[in-house]
């Protein structure tokens, strides 16, 4: 169920209407059920992974903070784990049909999923074991117990992430490495499906436990609130990675309907749809032509394709984030800003405070700073930056191009930092190219980064890079033209963003007269309507 589909808006309307008719506790239960249903549209089996991570972090955080979990909460979380395992893993929904129930019978269908039953019995056994070991865990000294639980939860979750997302990548590279030595071991590749949003909810929950461990927040005792924090559907599929300290208090308190907030939500949804449907999807054809090309590409093709992807990824992801924030506002929940005019950045440091803010701040707070940040000398700072960006790149996907993209940005950050530290060079450079020049230079560097990000293989990166540096002069254009809605939408978006930059607020439109606001919305609606013809595509960040 994509945000840009009619099905989603029907679903949203139903949930939203019911939501504002219910009291708080029931609002949260409704949102929880709706969020599970939303995820089940992709693959119901992987809902169990979400339940598992929710239960682990919920109980671990309570033990870390208060040294115990009340019997009732233990029973609820254990019961929920077992029930959801049965519901989501054991029942083979693909085989269930009304006719099937009559012909094959309920039991034969239920017992047809042997693998599901194996997982079920394992989960039941482990749950019982954990409950049996619970008194022993309480006897461990406080400091050791806290550390043990923190490390255990991190290991389990990184283990899940590593298995589902990186197993085949690491195995392939390991075999390639072994093959260099002359051995040819049997390949142990597994047919693993990447669960949607796994990178996002793993990071979501990790930050919660770490914050509780570091006494930055008090864990919640409400299992419903915590589970809702993990699966809240506007943020589930592709973030933002909202901190528990920001979202949980909102989910635990009374929300009131405010028309101001509701209107702002609608504005963000409209803006997000405009970016995604009219621009990002309108550029998709051109980009596919360039990056999936096996034949000759001119210099202009490569530049146009890269520039289009630079715009597409921004519109796709910031469009998604705008819609997610907008939907949250419709439910009376405010979510942090995720994109703050990133292409207006004049330096790599500024870029990472404007691009995918929730991820970059997560990496800063939970990786870069714990590694020592910039407090342990110049060399160590560079190492920390490179390591953070390397892992940031790898977070996006199990492929070398993402790693290369991360390392590339890490290198740019290091070089910039080095230049910045050498003041006299900075001054000379600044006086020479000026602020605008720096912005343009950094934009070009960012664009090349996107080429690394989008290319599907190392050979493609090599081909496109060679083309960029040696093919200048070949100005023929072979690639398909972007869709008219994208061509109309891009200037409109640029004007919108220039105003946002000038007014230093993304609410600048509220200061305009009703006729001008009407003009702005009518322009966006017109381009959006024209763009609805574009082939709908999944949001790029759903793959991560």
């Amino acid at each position: 169920m994509l945000f840009n589909s009619l099905t989603f808006f029907i679903f949203l309307s139903i949930v939203l209407t019911a939501y504002w008719l219910l009291p708080l506790r029931r609002q949260n239960i409704l949102l929880l059920v709706a969020s599970y249903a939303f995820y089940a549209f992709w693959d119901i089996r992987f809902l169990f992974l979400i339940t598992l991570t929710s239960v682990i972090d919920y109980t671990a955080a309570l033990i870390i903070y208060q040294g115990k979990v009340a019997r009732r909460e233990r029973l609820i979380s254990s019961g929920w784990l077992v029930v959801t395992c049965f519901l989501f893993v054991v029942i083979p929904y693909s085989k269930v049909s009304i006719n099937g129930l009559f012909t094959a019978g309920v039991w034969s269908i239920l017992f047809s999923n042997v693998f599901g039953w194996k997982i079920f019995f394992t989960v039941v056994s482990v749950t019982l074991l954990c409950n049996l070991l619970y008194p022993l865990v309480l006897k461990i000294p406080d400091t050791q117990r806290r550390r043990l639980l923190l490390v255990s939860t991190i290991v389990v979750k990184l283990g899940l992430l590593g298995f589902f997302k990186y197993y085949n990548f690491f195995m392939d590279n390991l075999y390639n490495l072994i093959a260099v030595t002359g051995f040819n071991p049997a390949v142990m590749r597994l047919n693993i499906i990447l669960p949607v949003a796994i990178s996002f909810y793993i990071f979501h929950t990790m930050s919660y436990t770490i914050d509780v461990y570091n006494n930055k927040m008090v864990p919640t005792t409400s299992f419903v609130d915590f589970t809702l924090f993990v699966v809240f559907f506007p943020l589930l599929a592709a973030g933002p990675i909202v901190r528990a300290s920001q979202l949980l208090p909102v989910l635990s308190s009374q929300r009131t309907f405010r028309s101001e907030q509701f209107m702002r939500g609608l504005h963000l949804i409209l803006l997000g749809l405009f970016k995604k449907v009219a621009i990002a999807d309108g550029l998709a054809g051109t980009i596919t032509h360039v990056f999936q090309s096996t034949g000759h590409l001119s210099w202009t093709d490569t530049v146009v394709g890269t520039l289009c992807f630079c715009i597409q990824i921004y519109c796709d992801f910031s469009g998604y984030s705008d819609i997610a924030r907008g939907i949250s506002k419709l439910f009376g929940i405010d979510i942090m800003l995720i994109f703050n005019l990133p292409y207006f950045s004049r330096s790599p440091t500024e870029f990472w405070t404007r691009w995918h803010i929730s991820l970059s701040s997560w990496l800063r707070d939970y990786l870069y700073i714990p590694l020592g940040g910039n407090r342990k000398g110049r060399i160590r700072t560079y190492v920390n930056l490179m390591l953070t960006m390397f892992l940031g790149g790898l977070w996006h996907g199990a492929a070398w191009n993402f790693v290369l993209w991360g390392v590339y940005h890490g290198a740019i950050l290091c070089i910039y930092r080095f230049i910045d530290e050498t003041r006299h060079v900075t001054n000379r450079v600044e006086s020479f190219i000026g602020g605008l020049g720096k912005g343009i230079l950094f934009f070009i560097l960012t664009c090349y980064g996107w080429l690394l990000f989008r290319a599907h293989s190392m050979s493609a990166i090599l081909k496109l890079t060679t083309n960029l540096f040696t093919g200048f002069g070949d100005f023929t254009i072979n690639v398909a033209k972007p869709m008219p809605a994208a061509l109309l939408g891009i200037p409109l978006l640029i004007i919108y963003e220039i105003f946002t930059y000038r007014f230093k607020s993304d609410k600048f439109y509220q200061r305009l007269s009703p006729s001008l606001q009407g003009f702005l919305y009518a322009s966006i609606i017109l381009v959006l309507v024209l763009g609805l013809r574009n082939a709908p595509a999944q949001f790029i960040y759903f793959n991560f």
């Binding site: 209107m263 090309s293 034949g295 509220q510 009407g518 009518a522 322009s523 609805l532």
Partner: protein
């Protein structure tokens, strides 16, 4: 924000949308004179007009026989008999049946002038049009070689019965039969009209048009009353744009069951099986009539070699000679395509040379497999 301001904003949104709508209609009016070709903007904003609206505007020029889109595509024996022979003055006669790709291929063959060529093609022709054209034509003019063209994205168009329903944005006036597999081979359901005169008579007579739309609603999967019938909605640019969106979604809901770029062909669907049967029956009929059958497989841009992979087993089983474009024109290479999605002239020339090489190796109509590598 006070309520009155919100109401004002909504009011102004509506006002501006109406203004934009009127401005676009005034700035980019579709030429009334059918002799004048519309520019890109005029064309773009007209795509969503109803089929009936578009056709009726062109009807006078269709009657004068000067509307490009109405010239071709009629499965009319009188028209087929008059198709000129081009290319070489003597030698084998090759008749090419198919869509615009086949037309470009035929033009390239004509230029090479190794053989005599008859070009029986029309824009967007699905395999059932090409097969029906062959079935009618081979009884009128004897060819030495018959080339049946099929393309990846054309298979789903077999769901339709007319270029009007399958190509809503740019409707072609021709009609074609619908085929079903039966015990005796293929059964054919002919549309109520398949000549230009029949078409004009239908669109000039409201009773006949009503009867035709009723027939379409029963026999044409692409028919939608909302898209076909003329109405007030034709006057608004925004509603026309929304109609395009509806068309895209509506058609995709039908065609995705047959082919998608991501999943390829659904080999269990009826149209794919009908296509394979058409390929088989075409080869048999041709050989029975002392004609060499030849299949020209067009693999559309970004569609991999899906069409080739789908038909290869059938063609090998029947030992039918064929040329698949994917070797000369890889679907993933944008450089081999022009801006309209057709192959470049150079590539069509290469394809024609490859076809000639295969055809020259065919000394009899007996089944013979020649694979171009």
């Amino acid at each position: 924000m006070v309520l009155s301001k919100k109401i004002y904003i909504v009011f102004w949104i509506i006002v501006w949308l109406v203004v934009f709508d009127c401005c676009i209609n005034i700035l980019f009016p579709y030429p009334v004179d059918t002799e004048i070709l519309p520019n890109a903007f005029q064309e773009y904003f007209e795509y969503g007009r109803s089929v009936e609206g578009k056709i009726k505007r062109k009807l006078p020029s269709i009657e004068r026989q000067d509307a490009t889109q109405a010239k071709g595509g009629w499965l009319d024996t009188n028209r087929l008999k008059c198709i000129p022979i081009e290319g070489a003055d003597s030698g084998k006669l090759i008749t090419i049946y198919g869509m615009s790709h086949a037309n470009a291929f035929a033009q390239a063959m004509i230029k090479i002038a190794s053989y005599r060529i008859r070009n029986i093609t029309t824009g967007g022709a699905p395999p059932n049009w090409s097969y029906a054209a062959f079935q009618m034509d081979h009884k009128l003019v004897h060819s030495d070689v018959a080339v049946l063209s099929v393309m990846t994205i054309g298979v789903a168009d077999m769901l339709g019965t007319s270029g009007m329903t399958a190509f809503f944005e740019h409707p072609y006036t021709y009609t074609f039969p619908h085929y079903e597999i039966s015990d005796n081979g293929l059964t054919m359901e002919m549309p109520p009209f398949y000549t230009r005169d029949g078409f004009i008579s239908c669109f000039r007579d409201p009773v006949k048009l009503k009867r035709y739309t009723q027939w379409l609603s029963q026999n044409d999967a692409f028919y939608s009353e909302f898209l076909f019938k003329q109405g007030l909605t034709d006057y608004s640019v925004i509603v026309r744009a929304l109609k395009r969106v509806y068309f895209t979604t509506f058609v995709y809901s039908k065609t995705e069951k047959i082919y998608t770029i991501e999943k390829g062909f659904n080999e269990s669907c009826n149209e794919v099986n009908v296509l394979k049967r058409i390929i088989h029956e075409f080869a048999q009929t041709a050989r029975t009539n002392n004609i060499v059958p030849f299949i020209y497989i067009v693999n559309n841009q970004l569609c991999n070699d899906d069409m080739y992979q789908l038909l290869k087993p059938q063609l090998e089983a029947d030992k039918t000679p064929f040329l698949s474009t994917h070797i000369i024109c890889p679907p993933s290479n944008p450089a081999v395509y022009g801006s309209d999605g057709h192959f470049t002239i150079e590539k069509d020339h290469e394809l024609a040379l490859a076809a000639i090489k295969i055809i020259s190796g065919m000394d009899s109509v007996a089944p013979k497999q020649i694979i171009f590598e």
